[in-house]
Symmetry: D2
């Protein structure tokens, strides 16, 4: 079996293979009356598009999206939105040599074990190409968020590439869109470019860490106990190819903290409670606090590398695998817009769930609004 | 809204509050004909039970489980299994002082913001007491796994408490059940006991890291793309109270690796492919490889501490919170059996999904079984 | 596998067997802040309760409900509500003779074929006793409806028992609660009592038709295409034991109509569009029109009868079955409150879904509110 | 919100509007390794295709299906199958006159009330054109059934058109494919052609009753209590446009029967239990008995008719509606292949659910296989 859908009310089903005729997303549960056209979606797809600089795969895909349903005269109708992206630049012959063997670290072997057959062209369904469909769906979510919670702002960026970390003291959000790494640190962008050139020259690849921050999220989003906001975000990010870990706020480092250190103390701001720190990453008990929602996820290095690695063939013979073809030396780079898209989809879904409960998108009870107890 | 159910085919809904009359789990989709009685479940509940040593809360709950449905003459019938645990040792007065204020780092405030009211007794639904229901459901999953995949073995243990890590060179699985920390390192158990005594004396608490390993998992489990085995595990673990991060295999450290380092090279063993390393944590492309499935998750320190922290009241007045009552100084300790239970539930669910696809619980295609290509 | 849950946002999972320790409903997704106590639920359970007159089974069950979670100080908290009803008057020995054979027309045989074993006591999970849990859940739904759409009124009644139909010209809603048949026709009540006495004396049983009408339902409820209001109602009613058919509005008779006859013509009332007829049963395109929602469902005669019927034993030997024990000669009677309960649950679920879309419970566009085109 | 997905494991999401660029079905959860190509699907689409004779709409749609994903080298891969059908023969100007008014008996008004806007071209999403996507999905289900349960045979046919019923004594399955009404009675086909010509000439339309029978269904399919086989079939059929009632076996007539009449007596056949009658329609307790599964559903007359009917405009002014455009005078005719498709999808879904439980597709316990008790 497979489950290619996520979301409770805003439900996205992605479909399509790397080298099949097309891929896309079926978006069901989108509220009606929201302005939407292909150009709005294309903007976001263009950010993820391969081949835009020397640091990503040289496959040339326009990733042109076509809206096949659910929009009438420029507005969503409340019916399913079908988003299709035709594949254009397939070079399936590049993959001939992996038909009968398995790239170490790649889903080749498990798809074969699970399904008994696989579409080997470009990794088939397990290709990162699937994430284009998520970005398209995320673009729809963003347009809906604009109408329901216009103050929400979602920003993703790289914070680590292999051993290289950003310097948080140099953090400059304006830099993110100015470099091919989506890194908020101009110096890092320069250093990483050199480092990645070397990685590529070595026939190697490298891992990455992405951070996605959502500001302006109203307090009260989240659906305890098993669709908590952090649970949903963990699932959303872990479902992206090559992700091996997800953390919220202090994250894995929370294991090292004491309760005194971890307690985000609360004071009263002019417009509600204000927290003195954000170890919680904007989520307590699975419900948003109103602070920035902060998620990080780790992307493993691309498994398709030019360096030979030991493997076996389908018939069990030992072999060495060298992957030709056009690959991202750091697939994490293009994961930035994907992480943003997943954040947009999850926030919208939770916003709709919350609105089902309360009729509104904000908190039910305002602190400070009650009479003194 | 709330969603208190997880699982696709083996579906668990937990219910109940910390200080309400009872709590429990409704387990639907359990295969019929499996031997099950209360004693089998009690064994696992007893591991998680509070008050067993000085390192956990002194609340005295027998956590005695009652099977209300779904079992006839000692066997499951295929109908829903209702597991109920009566609360016995409530001391709700301990919580009087947090009725109108919010513990920093606790779900008090967000439940109030989301629902407009909350059951303040013992944290209500957001209490770690909810995890007793998960352990009970996990015990059912274990009994089913015994019949469907008896070779599966699930082991959880602590690998970190605050700044203290286990020494992997001293790893001894036999130690796990011999100390109150479920730690596979006798020396660590001794050191941690001293450290936790001090933490408790300081009116403080501390975080922890848990590792859960499942061996014997057949290759082929997982339901790409959005119910991948790692996605499901990430959601399952993140849904546990106080968890702030989840990682699989190399996890967050994968961001630091190169492709050459990360590729788990494959060779042919006597009974199928064998991997020379397990950076993947037993999962590639969301599907199990047959290696050990390795998950780690970070638990933040208990937010109910005796040290005063700044907060606000419902009416917005500044205040200081000191939590009396009986609390775990390291709630991570009791999360070990909970992590194991979630692993059991998720593996069973995926096993059933896989059996729906194939009629069997093992891989569809065996490597080495094909004629040479 | 089994699926014991219905609903998208207001989700009800029923559990329990006829002669097990208890049965109940786990209600998840109930909005917070709604007044709820056991007495409110008991009122509705008492209507369905067996043994209240000579026309229903003489099993004496108080059907006393206990709220185990989800309610604090008389209000729902937004967390799962566990409703438990202890079984009290089991006489399992009555069923000894069907342990190894199968009642014709009963689920005995299919449960055995599906699960390989069954709880034979009182039909186990397939007993109409399961419907007590639905009535309890429906009572919760009614309380929520009272706050969200107080104008909604749900009324169920019998319109047919065997060959006996009500006379619609004598329809008097006030009669419904005055007779044991929930029949809106005093004369029918009298005639049917005599007829059913004879049926019972003959060791026979008889079928029934129930009609459930909801008035005051706002236009716009329904979630096309596969969770349409009529689809949901059809599933809800068909899921009740012994139901063999469901129809909306003109129903099966729509097959006989012409388009001219079937078109419910529309005129403008003082407060919106008004329909001159209601062939649609209040639903067009799966969405409520604002007219009365009208559902009918047929209940087959009880299969546990005193007249011998040919059957086989588990080992395949021919036999004759006569069911002793206490049975409803017309199980349709007690299905009236069950049908009402299902209507309440489905309407609430759709109302919440609609509110997720729009933030409100009424139609998005009012006819007559637009400027003339 | 909208829900355009049905199925638990074999999940079908349909999308698309009558006059949009395309429509289709996203089929997730299809087992891998099943032979599938466009021609196999086209066969079934061609049966439903409009314009094949004078009794259906004259819209000329080739309904040519394109497989965009999920199939590799002629076999399903286990990943989502995207089926797209381009719309070709739109004549949206035909609908200009209903932009601002509402056809009585049509979803025009409720879509407007629910969503505040609608795609008026050809009924948009509420058009019967959506059912082409179901037929495509059903064709996939049939191919899978062929491999899992090749003995299953699904046959749909009309049994009533307006006041005209088939004569069951003349029932001849071979006739079904020989006439435009899919009617198993040659005489009826002739009479109905004349009757429908008259209806069309009168600018009127007419309702219909469809029966769908599945033979060869193994005993044991069905997932009590809320995903029972009959529940699923009721929902599936009621979700089809214009359906107003659904019944199983004796159906609504069960209300008239006594228990003695309704009990399908059981005897031992050479290969298992055999029933002397089939009042149950092949389903007891929501689980298949192994007998023919028999479903009937009523289709209301097309609401787009040439006879003027009273209605209102969006601004509330009284008006009369006459629908021009090309419409089926009896939309029930083309519902026959749709009902078959839904039956195929539901049976496959239940077969997969059953296989998850048991590893096989047949009953768990065979009657007569046990030692004598």
């Amino acid at each position: 079996m497979s489950f290619n859908t996520f979301g409770h009310l805003f439900r996205v089903t992605t479909w399509g293979e790397s080298h099949g005729p097309a891929l896309g997303a079926t978006v069901d549960g989108c509220p009606p009356g929201v302005a939407l056209d292909e150009a709005m979606i294309q903007t976001w797809l263009d950010r993820r598009k391969p081949g835009q600089n020397r640091h990503t795969t040289q496959r040339r895909e326009p990733d042109a999206v076509e809206i096949l349903s659910g929009v009438y005269e420029g507005r969503t109708t409340g019916t399913p939105i079908q988003l299709m992206i035709r594949n254009v630049d397939q070079r399936s012959k590049d993959y001939g040599n992996i038909l009968d063997t398995f790239r170490p670290g790649h889903a080749d072997i498990t798809y074969f074990q699970k399904y008994g057959l696989r579409d080997p062209r470009g990794g088939g369904r397990s290709s990162a190409r699937e994430t284009a469909a998520r970005v398209a769906a995320g673009a729809v979510a963003r347009e809906v968020l604009k109408t329901l919670a216009p103050q929400v702002k979602i920003t993703g960026y790289m914070v680590q590439m292999g051993p290289h970390h950003i310097d948080r003291t140099r953090f400059d959000a304006a830099e993110i869109d100015r470099n091919p790494f989506w890194v908020p640190d101009a110096q890092a962008a320069e250093d990483w470019a050199r480092a990645l050139d070397q990685i590529r020259k070595d026939g190697n690849s490298v891992g990455a860490m992405i951070e996605v921050v959502a500001s302006g999220v109203p307090a009260g989003l989240g659906a305890p106990i098993y669709a908590k906001l952090d649970t949903e975000l963990a699932a959303a990010m872990m479902s992206i190819n090559a992700v091996k870990g997800v953390e919220i706020g202090a994250g894995m480092a929370a294991a090292s903290l004491t309760g005194v250190e971890n307690a985000d103390e609360i004071e009263m701001g002019t417009d509600g409670p204000r927290y003195r720190s954000n170890k919680a990453g904007g989520i307590l008990g699975g419900i948003s606090t109103g602070q920035d929602v902060v998620v990080r996820f780790a992307i493993k290095p691309t498994s398709s590398i030019h360096t030979p690695r030991a493997s076996v063939t389908r018939s069990g013979a030992p072999t060495e695998v060298v992957t030709k073809g056009r690959h991202d030396p750091c697939v994490g780079i293009r994961a930035v817009p994907v992480g943003e898209a997943m954040m947009a989809c999850i926030l919208l879904d939770q916003l709709l769930l919350h609105r089902a409960q309360t009729g509104a998108t904000g908190p039910v009870a305002e602190i400070g609004a009650c009479a003194p107890e």
